[in-house]
Symmetry: C2
Subunit: 502 residues, 2 copies
C-alpha cells in the first residue's frame, strides 16, 4: 500500500515521467546505443595497460564531446585519468555526481568460452540458458530484454558509463533538463583498487563539491529487484607464499622426506577458517561497529531470498558464518581468490614444488582498520610456527626456520564506509526508483562488493549511494562477463528517475 501510494504522488509522478522518457528513447534509438557500447567494449581496459587506457579515455572524451559535454581529465601521475563533465542546470539547488568506471578486471583469454574478453558478442539470452549468438540490432530493430552482451566491462562497468550517458541523451531528446546539477565522474582504475583516487579528489575538491555521489556500478539483487546500497565493505588483498626446498625436487627421490610447500599452505589455510566458513584468526570479528535498527531490519528482509540464490548457484550448503547472506556481508571475510603451486592437469610433473602461493582477499566492515586486520593475520601465521617475511627467504633463513611464509599486503587497501539509511536525500532516491518498478526496491545497508567510498567521506565529506544496474548473474570479475539488455534499460530508467526527482 505504501508502495502503491508512492507511485501516484509527488516525487513519483516526476519519476514515472522519467520512465516514459527512457522507454521512448529506447524505442527510437536502441540499436545506436548498443552499437556505441559495443565499440567502447572493444577497447581493452585493464588499468595497468596504459596504452589501451589512453584509448579508452580518448574514446570516452569523444563520446562526451558528441553530446555537447566538454570532458576534463583529472590526472594523477602514472595513473589512468578520471574523466569528468558537467551539466549545469539553471535554477537547480542540488548537485549530484554520477559515478561509473571504465576500467575492467584483468582477463585470461584462455579461460573465456563464449567470446574473447574484448570482442563483444551479442547473444539472444544467457548462454547457459540456451542463448545463441546473433547480430547486434541494426537501426530500427529492438533488442529482447533477455539478450546479453558478452565482453569484459559489459556489466562492470562500461555498461554503467553507457547507462549514464544514455539517461542524459533520453532527457535531452525529450526536451527535459535534470532537476539537479549533474557532474559525471568516470574512474579508470577502480578494478586496481583506486590507489590514486585520493590524489584525484584532492586535485579538484571544489569542482567536485556535491550533495551526494551516486555510484552506478555492480549487480542488482539476486531476485532481479532494483536496489539502493548505503554502504560498502572495505577491501584488502594479501599474498601468502610458503617454501619447500630451494629447487624443484623429484617427487620420487625426495617425496616423504623433503617438505612440500603446498601441503604447508593447505595446513596453514585450514587453521584460518573452520569448515562452516567462520574465520578462526584471533580477534577477527572484534572491532565491528554494530548495525542500527533500520539496517538490521533491512537485512532481515533480505534473508528470504537466500534459498533461491543458493539453488540458482548450485550451492548445497552455504557457509554458516551468519544466519543469512546479508548478515554474512556485515562481517569481515577472508576468501581464497586463487591458489597455485607448480602445475596440475596435462602440465603436472613429478615434482615437489618450491613454493605455494595463495591470493587472499579480505572484505572489511565498518569499524575494521585494514592495517590492524593485516596484523591479526600476520600474528596468526606466526602463531602457527612460521617465520613471517615480506620477501623471499635467504639460504640461511631457510636452514634456521623450518616454516617460512612471505605475507604481503598489496597496495590499494581501504576501509568500509556507510551512509545512514534515514538520510532524506537517500530516501528521495529510493522513492524515485520505486516509481519505475512494480516490484520492491531492495535497501542494503552494506554492499558485498567494495568501493573506496571512504575516500569520499574522508576527503569530500559527501554522502554516497549506490544504484547498481547489472544482472546479478553477470559473471562479474570472471570469464564470460555479460550484461543483460533489460537490466541496462532498467538502469537507464533509474538514472532518468533520479535526475527527475524533486
Amino acid at each position: 500500500l505504501i508502495l502503491l501510494a508512492s507511485m501516484v504522488l509527488g516525487p513519483a509522478s516526476a519519476a514515472s515521467q522519467g520512465s516514459n522518457v527512457a522507454a521512448a528513447f529506447r524505442a527510437a534509438h536502441e540499436a545506436q546505443v548498443l552499437s556505441e557500447l559495443a565499440g567502447f567494449l572493444a577497447i581493452p581496459n585493464v588499468a595497468s595497460d596504459a596504452a589501451n587506457i589512453a584509448k579508452n579515455a580518448s574514446a570516452l572524451g569523444a563520446m562526451l564531446a558528441f553530446r555537447g559535454f566538454p570532458a576534463t581529465q583529472l590526472v594523477a601521475k602514472g595513473a589512468p585519468p578520471a574523466i569528468t563533465a558537467r551539466w549545469t542546470v539553471p535554477g537547480a539547488t542540488r548537485t549530484l555526481v554520477l559515478y561509473a568506471h571504465y576500467d575492467g578486471q584483468p582477463a585470461d583469454p584462455a579461460k573465456w568460452k563464449v567470446t574473447q574478453p574484448w570482442r563483444p558478442l551479442y547473444f539472444t539470452r544467457a548462454v547457459e540458458r540456451g542463448g545463441r549468438r546473433a547480430q547486434f540490432p541494426v537501426a530500427g530493430q529492438r533488442a529482447d530484454s533477455e539478450a546479453r552482451i558478452y565482453a569484459r566491462g559489459a556489466s562492470d562497468d562500461k555498461g554503467g558509463v553507457m547507462a549514464i550517458l544514455t539517461a542524459l541523451d533520453a532527457l535531452r531528446v525529450a526536451g527535459k533538463t535534470p532537476t539537479s546539477n549533474v557532474i559525471l565522474f568516470f574512474e579508470g582504475e577502480e578494478e586496481a583498487g583506486s590507489p590514486h583516487l585520493p590524489e584525484v579528489l584532492h586535485s579538484d575538491s571544489a569542482g567536485l563539491k556535491a550533495d551526494a555521489w551516486v555510484f552506478v556500478d555492480g549487480p542488482v539483487h539476486q531476485s532481479g529487484a532494483k536496489e539502493v546500497l548505503f554502504g560498502v565493505r572495505g577491501d584488502m588483498h594479501i599474498d601468502v607464499t610458503t617454501y619447500g626446498a630451494n629447487r624443484p625436487l623429484h617427487s620420487g627421490h625426495y617425496g616423504n622426506w623433503a617438505p612440500n610447500p603446498a601441503e604447508q599452505l593447505a595446513r596453514l589455510l585450514t587453521t584460518m577458517k573452520d569448515s562452516t566458513g567462520r574465520v578462526t584468526i584471533a580477534g577477527w570479528y572484534d572491532d565491528v561497529t554494530p548495525l542500527g535498527q533500520a539496517e538490521r531490519a533491512a537485512n532481515a528482509d533480505l534473508a528470504a531470498y537466500d534459498t533461491m540464490v543458493a539453488r540458482e548457484l548450485g550451492i548445497g550448503r552455504p557457509y554458516a558464518v551468519a544466519p543469512s547472506l546479508a548478515e554474512a556481508i556485515e562481517l569481515p571475510s577472508l576468501n581464497i581468490n586463487g591458489i597455485a603451486s607448480a602445475d596440475v592437469g596435462a602440465q603436472a610433473r613429478n615434482v615437489i614444488p618450491t613454493t605455494a602461493t595463495v591470493a587472499l582477499d579480505v572484505r572489511l566492515v565498518l569499524g575494521n582498520d585494514h592495517d590492524r586486520m593485516f596484523q591479526k593475520l600476520v600474528e596468526h601465521v606466526r602463531r602457527q610456527g612460521y617465520l613471517v617475511l615480506d620477501r623471499a627467504p635467504t639460504d640461511s633463513e631457510r636452514l634456521a626456520h623450518p616454516l617460512i611464509a612471505t605475507v604481503v599486503q598489496r597496495a590499494g587497501s581501504y576501509d568500509a564506509s556507510r551512509t545512514p539509511m534515514d538520510l532524506p536525500l537517500a530516501q528521495s532516491v529510493v522513492q524515485a526508483l520505486r516509481a519505475t518498478t512494480p516490484g520492491p526496491v531492495m535497501q542494503l545497508p552494506t554492499s558485498g562488493g567494495s568501493l573506496p567510498l571512504i575516500y569520499l567521506t574522508d576527503i569530500l565529506h559527501v554522502p554516497t549511494l549506490m544504484v547498481p544496474i547489472a544482472n546479478y548473474d553477470n559473471n562479474q570479475h570472471a570469464e564470460d562477463e555479460n550484461l543483460r539488455i533489460g537490466n541496462f534499460w532498467s538502469g537507464v530508467e533509474s538514472i532518468v528517475a533520479i535526475l527527475s526527482m524533486h
Copy 2:
C-alpha cells in the same frame, strides 16, 4: 681394504681397463659426442607429441645405423616406438639389456629461465653457482667436467641414451668387444608412465631374453658417489577436484557465504597428512613387505648423507616419516605435485573459484597394490563427508551434497619391484663400478624414483638393476633440467666397465 683389493684383482683389472678406454675416447672425441647429444636434445620429446616423437625415433635410428647397429622399432599402436638394437659377441654366454628412454617430461617454456626446453645451451658450470653461457666445444677442445648442458632430457634421459652409445663407441674405437651380448632398448614413453611397455615386451619376449636389464636412468647419489639401485617404487597419479558454486562468484558479494572449493581442498589435503609428513589415511602403511637384513644395512649406511643433502637443498627440517631419507623411501608416499584454483599474482581476481584441483602422486613400495591404495584414498575422502565421483557433478548432485570431490586415478599406474641385493650378477656390476672410482659405490635397495620394472619381472622374469649417471642437482622433471659433463663421462666409464666385466 676390501675396496682397494677389488681395484687390483680379477674383475677389477678388466674394469680399470674399461676406464682407460672411456678416458681415451673422451680425450679424442669429446666435442663430437656433445655436439651429437645437443642435436638430439633439440628435438622436442614429450611422449604425447607424436610428430616430434617420430622425429626422435628416426634420429635415434640414424644414430644407431651410423654405428653399424640396425635399429628395430617395437611398436604398440598409438604409442611412441621402443627402439632396439643388438651387438652379438661371439663366445659370450651372457646377455645384458641396456635401457634408457628418449622421451622427456612435459615442459612449460614460460617457466624456464636458463634456456628454452628444447634449445640446448652449454654453460661453464651450474648457473646457480656462477656458470656462464659458452659455446659447445669444437673439434679438439675438451669440456670442463663442471660444465653443464641445459635442456629437457639432458639428464633424463637422452643423456643416458648418449652415454650408452658412447660406451659402445669407446669399446669399438679401442678395438674391444663387450664381454656380454648387448641389447639396447630405448623407450619412448617412460615419462608418460610406460602404458604400452607390457604390450611391447610381449611383442618380442624371445628377442628381449636376457640375464639382466641394466637401466641407465636417473641421478646418482647426492654425495656424487656412483650408485647401483636394486628396486624401484611403484607410481600412481591421482587428480582430486572440489567444487564451489556452479559459476565464478564475486568474492565481495558472496564471500563469507558461498563455499570456497580451494578452502575445502586445503582442508581435505590437511586431513591426509600430518605436519610431520606422515600420511593419515587409514591403512596407508599396511601391506608393506619388510626389508631383509642386507637391505636394512644398506639403508643405514645411507643415513649419514642426510644432513649434507638437507643443507644443500635449503631444507630446515625434513619430514619425520622415517629416521632417514633412505628409510622414508621404503614407505609409500603421498605428495602434492601441483595445486590450482583460479589465479594468483597479477592475474588474481576478486572471485570465489568454481573448482580447486590437486595433482597427487603416490609412490608405492613392495607389497602395495596400486588399486588397493587408490581405494584407501577414496574411502578417506568419503569419510570426510564427500560424495566421491569420477566426473564433474550434476546440478542436482550439487544441491544434494554440500561436499563433492572428483577423484580420478590416471592411467599408467604400476607397482614396485625389487631385485635381491645378493644376486651374483648384481654384485658383479657393483664390483665393476667400484674399479672406476676411488669413492664408494652406494647400494640402494629401493630407488626413490619409479620405473615400471614390475613389467619386466612379470613378463620377462628377468632381474633388473639401475645404474644412474646424472648429477643429482639436475632439476629432473622441472624447469632448467641439466646434465653435468663430468657425470656424463663418469657414466660412460661405468657402462664400459659393466660391458667389460667377466
